[in-house]
């Protein structure tokens, strides 16, 4: 006879406010098989856990039901708690009376009734619980970092410094990411290249880091500690071992194209390195635009001119498969295209540009070699209007969220404008100034007070060309009147949005995404770098708009998680996997057909003499993830999922059906 203990948590007032916890605990004490029940203010606290441990001993409890928050939050906590008291951790069930009850209902009577029902279901299930045991599984102590921006580089360096091998995969021909495009960083005005490029070189020369640029992750299988990943190294058309990075090839290449790195303001060749400090400093041929590939081998200038015979048109995509213990996604963001704001003239007037284009315009290695000039006539601008929240906080054109960094880079641009063009005047249209970081507010104040930037609270309704000038019409809501500015240049602070292929990668890695395709963390507060799939971590702006300090901090956090994982000798398997009843299995193989993980094999049963009798299905516990799809498919109920067996779920249904 099972002896179940029920522990009802108040969660301060979170549960107690809408659920009569004392009455519910009392009523739970009268449920079948319940030997003891009580309530306590914070069951997850140390005294709360001690209360459970003591009760297990005093009342000889063999199964525990904790009625509190979601098991997705504290199941591990209470499993540990009861195992410290000598019970098998899988003798625990949790009734979610907070997220699913007290927080979503107002009527105390109704919520209390529901809470008791949820407890009754958990008790009925707990009675059927069996002790389950983990097995040791091996662990590959090598990490894969996807995305070679500042976050990915930081993750790779931290893991590598701890002594573990790392592969850093980057989609573009060079690591560096968005930060490589920036000129200065707020609020210290550090030169971005001066703080980033040494890190890029460190990563490239680190003995524990292997960098794969111009490469993409194609396939991911396996599970924590044992991922198997296939990476496609796209054909670079340049032999990385032979190339010395002299740059003659792209000097001589006849084909010019708009440079992605310079946001279309400058040009690159068909054979190119994206920027001068690229790591690796090995060019790549853009085959779609290369004359050699377009005209069936007629051009070939780069191959002829290359002093080290490194150009090789015959190179093909290479597939590399390797094992990894952990994967960190650090794929960043992309700037939103402000074309939907037709009233602002982006794409129509050459001097209406995005903030990232503006950044490239005063970067010393940018298209103008650092001279801040208008794209239209190459004259320095005098009046520059910066417009905030382009695509951010705007459901109509873009996204409802705040992109977090735009207020700061607007202030930075307004300040730098004054430094480059001394008689220039910056106007900043803003909705709110969000400057909540170390030294951020002070930086904005400095831009306004010392650099004379004029901040106007309000939106811009229209931008139109009038001769050489751009007329900006908006409203100053603080002064309560319309404003018209004759500008030489208009800079749009475009939102940050998820990468276009974020969803595909998320699916490959088992990361859930929010409605804007940002990657979802496992818990917004307590697990900000983990995702729901074990062994996968997040770093940087792939999760949500972040500035550089936040991205780097999270990167180090993710690296610490990976290092923590790798510090273990081996991993414990989840015992909640499928098992086959060999007495009733008839080897119809339906389970094998539906299994997403090819975890089901066929086994031959033999008699004592070793002669085969018949075949049955058997589960490879290392491959089984415990989804239970096979269980629902089995016609003879011969395959069951531990922890979620038919009799456990049916008991829950019955307990609820017969609840008072």
């Amino acid at each position: 006879m099972a002896r179940v203990g029920v522990f009802v948590c108040w969660c301060g007032s979170n549960i107690a406010k809408t659920v009569d916890v004392v009455k519910v605990a009392e009523a739970a004490g009268k449920l079948p098989s319940v030997a003891y029940s009580t309530d306590y203010k914070y069951m997850c606290s140390e005294p709360g856990q001690n209360l459970i441990k003591q009760a297990i001993e005093e009342h000889k409890l063999d199964r525990i039901v904790v009625a509190s928050c979601s098991p997705r939050l504290h199941e591990p906590t209470f499993r540990r708690c009861i195992s410290e008291a000598g019970l098998n951790p899988f003798m625990l069930e949790m009734a979610n009376i907070r997220e699913h009850c007290s927080w979503v209902h107002d009527d105390k009577e109704v919520a209390s009734e529901k809470a008791l029902d949820l407890i009754a279901m958990s008790v009925a299930k707990a009675v059927k619980n069996e002790a389950l045991f983990s097995q040791e599984i091996p662990l590959t102590k090598k990490a894969l970092v996807i995305g070679g921006g500042v976050a990915g580089i930081q993750v790779a360096l931290d893991i590598a410094d701890a002594g573990y091998k790392v592969t850093l995969v980057e989609k573009t021909p060079s690591i560096g990411g968005r930060m490589a495009q920036y000129d200065k960083t707020f609020p210290t005005l550090d030169c971005a290249a001066c703080i980033l490029t040494p890190k890029m070189v460190d990563a490239a020369s680190h003995p524990n880091i292997e960098i794969m640029t111009y490469a993409e992750v194609e396939k991911v299988s396996g599970f924590v500690g044992n991922f198997e990943v296939t990476i496609r190294k796209k054909a670079r058309s340049v032999d990385m071992k032979k190339c010395t990075g002299c740059g003659v090839c792209y000097e001589k290449c006849p084909k010019k194209l708009p440079s992605e790195f310079d946001c279309g303001l400058g040009q690159r060749k068909a054979i190119y390195v994206p920027f001068p400090q690229a790591v690796p400093n090995v060019p790549v041929i853009d085959r779609e635009n290369c004359r050699y590939f377009a005209d069936g081998g007629k051009c070939g200038v780069c191959a002829k001119i290359c002093p080290s015979q490194a150009v090789d048109y015959t190179l093909e995509d290479e597939m590399i498969t390797d094992k990894y213990g952990a994967i960190v996604a650090a794929t960043g963001f992309q700037p939103w295209d402000p074309t939907p704001y037709t009233n602002l003239g982006y794409g129509r007037y050459p001097d209406v540009i995005t903030s990232l284009q503006f950044e490239r315009l005063f970067n010393a290695s940018g298209p103008t070699e650092g001279k801040l000039v208008r794209p239209s006539d190459h004259k320095p601008p005098k009046n520059v209007v910066f417009i905030s929240c382009i695509g951010s906080r705007d459901d109509e054109h873009g996204y409802p969220y705040c992109s977090k960094v735009c207020c700061m880079y607007n202030a930075k641009h307004a300040l730098l404008l004054k430094e480059k063009v001394h008689d220039a005047q910056a106007y900043v249209f803003y909705m709110d100034i969000r400057a909540n970081g170390k030294g951020y507010e002070e930086f904005v104040r400095r831009t306004i007070e010392k650099y004379g930037a004029i901040y106007l609270r309000g939106r811009v309704s229209r931008v139109f060309q009038d001769g050489e000038k751009l007329i900006v019409r908006g409203v100053d809501t603080l002064a309560g009147k319309p404003v018209e500015i004759e500008a030489d240049m208009v800079v749009l602070a475009a939102a940050m949005e998820a990468q276009p292929d974020a969803k595909d990668l998320a699916r490959m890695l088992g990361i859930s995404t929010d409605e804007y395709n940002w990657f979802s963390e496992a818990h917004p507060k307590l697990k900000p770098v983990e995702v729901l799939t074990a062994g996968i971590y997040l770093a940087g702006a792939c999760q949500y708009p972040k500035d550089i300090p936040d991205a780097v901090a999270q990167a180090s956090g993710a690296a610490a998680k990976v290092v923590g994982l790798f510090a273990k000798e081996s991993l414990q398997s989840e015992p909640t996997v499928a098992e086959v009843n060999e007495d009733t299995c008839v080897d119809c193989q339906l389970c094998k057909e539906v299994c997403p993980y090819t975890a089901i094999d066929t086994k031959t049963l033999t008699d004592r003499a070793g002669n085969p009798i018949r075949t049955v299905s058997c589960v490879n516990e290392g491959l089984c993830h415990g989804c239970g799809t096979c269980v629902a498919a089995c016609r003879s109920s011969s395959i069951q999922l531990r922890g979620f067996k038919d009799n456990q779920i049916l008991s829950e249904i019955d307990a609820l059906a017969f609840a008072e």
């Binding site: 979601s70 997705r72 939050l73 997220e99 979620f644 249904i653």
Partner: protein, 153 residues
């Protein structure tokens, strides 16, 4: 006193009559819909309290017999919900769930169980709002269908 009078009189003596509330059971996958329900909770969204949740690892674990058992036991409505197509934590469990429950829907009709008593949906971990809306809508739908009188009745 005629029989009719007795019947009309009874509720008065018993105090205000309580409105009938449907009994609903929901089978939610751990990774998407259960998490979506958690999000509805932490966002303090309000929805009717009729449904009780059974947590399963994947909507693919939901054996149609659970749904049938629930109706046999007199529940007025059953909800099954998992991850959106392509988002299944177990790659494709939700596709099996969809197939099984499409077939089940037809079978329920065949058995004389009104189709509005059963609902299959996709709700992601980020869709707390959708969870609250689906529960509210489904509860209303079952309420409209009235108490479940049993198979074929």
């Amino acid at each position: 006193m005629s029989e009719e009078q007795v019947i009309t009189k009874e509720p008065e003596t018993a105090g205000a009559p309580k409105e009938w509330e449907p009994k609903i059971i929901g089978f939610l996958c751990n990774w998407c819909t259960y998490a979506g329900a958690d999000l509805a909770g932490s966002s303090r969204l309000k929805y009717p309290a009729n449904m009780r949740v059974v947590r399963v690892p994947c909507s693919g674990r939901v054996d149609p017999q659970f749904v049938l058992k629930a109706f046999e036991r007199g529940f007025d409505g059953v909800l099954v919900s998992g991850c959106h197509p392509g988002d299944c934590h177990y790659a494709k469990g939700n596709y099996y769930a969809r197939r099984r429950h499409m077939l089940l829907q037809k079978f329920l009709e065949h058995m004389g169980i009104e189709p509005e008593r059963f609902h299959f949906d996709w709700i992601s971990a980020a869709e707390g709002q959708k969870f609250a809306e689906v529960v509210e809508e489904f509860t209303g739908q079952v309420k409209k269908a009235g108490p479940f009188k049993g198979v074929g009745k």
